[in-house]
Symmetry: C2
Subunit: 191 residues, 2 copies
């Protein structure tokens, strides 16, 4: 029996993306975003939603480029701080002690201490309710070498990314391997 909860943004999981952007003045900013996800395979694209009041909104409108950085749980406190402080008032990099480096392919900062960075160029913008959705084409993925597996692919256990639970505003870890996609369901194909 299902209970009706009304209209809420309750989906599981949502990600923890830290958006890197530069201001007109060249200063790097970082913002914590849970509203986003991959939205195309070819070209690979990621969507993120940002309110107009944010410094990150001004920065992306100016530069049309941004980065999506995925923190490990080891940096949960810094990642959370990026979602509390305002980029209009604070140099979040100075306060957190983390370091920004210019991305090689886009005019946005990469967060050096975080293991995965998507370099993105805006190809579509839409106003969705209180948020503006930026769709970025992922022009390059950068991954910390220690977080790659033997095949040279990002390893989710080594990355140790976090999940955001929108019903309780908490962070969770990722868990164990369950099964192979496009494979474990094949049994039903015979029926």
């Amino acid at each position: 029996m299902k209970k009706h909860l009304g209209a809420h943004a309750f989906a599981f999981p949502t990600p923890v993306y830290i958006i890197g952007s530069y201001g007109k003045d060249g200063k790097p900013n970082a913002m914590n975003v849970a509203w986003g996800g991959i939205c195309s395979s070819e070209p690979p694209c990621v969507a993120i939603s940002v309110r107009k009041s944010r410094r990150t909104y001004d920065n992306i409108m100016e530069k049309k480029e941004f980065s999506v950085n995925i923190p490990s749980r080891a940096h949960m406190k810094e990642a959370d701080y990026f979602g509390i402080a305002s980029g209009h008032k604070t140099d979040k990099f100075a306060a957190s002690g983390l370091h920004a480096a210019k991305c090689p392919n886009v005019d946005a900062p990469c967060i050096e201490e975080f293991p995965l960075c998507l370099e993105c160029r805006v190809i579509h913008t839409a106003e969705i309710g209180q948020h503006v959705q930026f769709v970025g084409e992922i022009v390059n993925v950068m991954v910390e070498e220690a977080c790659l597996d033997d095949a040279g692919l990002p390893d989710i256990e080594k990355l140790a990314p976090m999940l955001y639970d929108p019903a309780h505003s908490v962070y969770n870890a990722t868990g164990e391997f369950l099964g192979k996609a496009f494979s474990v369901g094949k049994g039903f194909m015979k029926k």
Copy 2:
């Protein structure tokens, strides 16, 4: 030191959404989508990306409504099957043994055996590369009563949703509680 992997849809985590839709003929279909995420708080909205070749694309274009169903790991095989079989050729509900029920507020089916269902109305559509992104306003959330906590909110451990790893095409579990958002990072505010 970060290694450059080129352009890929590598973000962690991505969700496992099963999209419910009705055809012109009233037949329910279900499709597995990993490209999606929440994209607005007010009104709550969720974005999903679907290729034009899919039955789900035809159905949503016709009805302008759909559901996002989140399976528990107990139904990993059925959820995976929904991503392998074609809705053009198969009655996926008959083959999987799962049951579709009409959503109370939108013209789309809910999957009875899955613990969480978002009832969605399309408010924005965009072509992004090979995919079409549908943004649905979430008009109601339905959750299996056994998956609610004492406060009446969906409990991630009871829901037991899955993650999709786009680098390896595998499913992972969600993991343990790590910390409170908008809280664990407050220490940096004093600096």
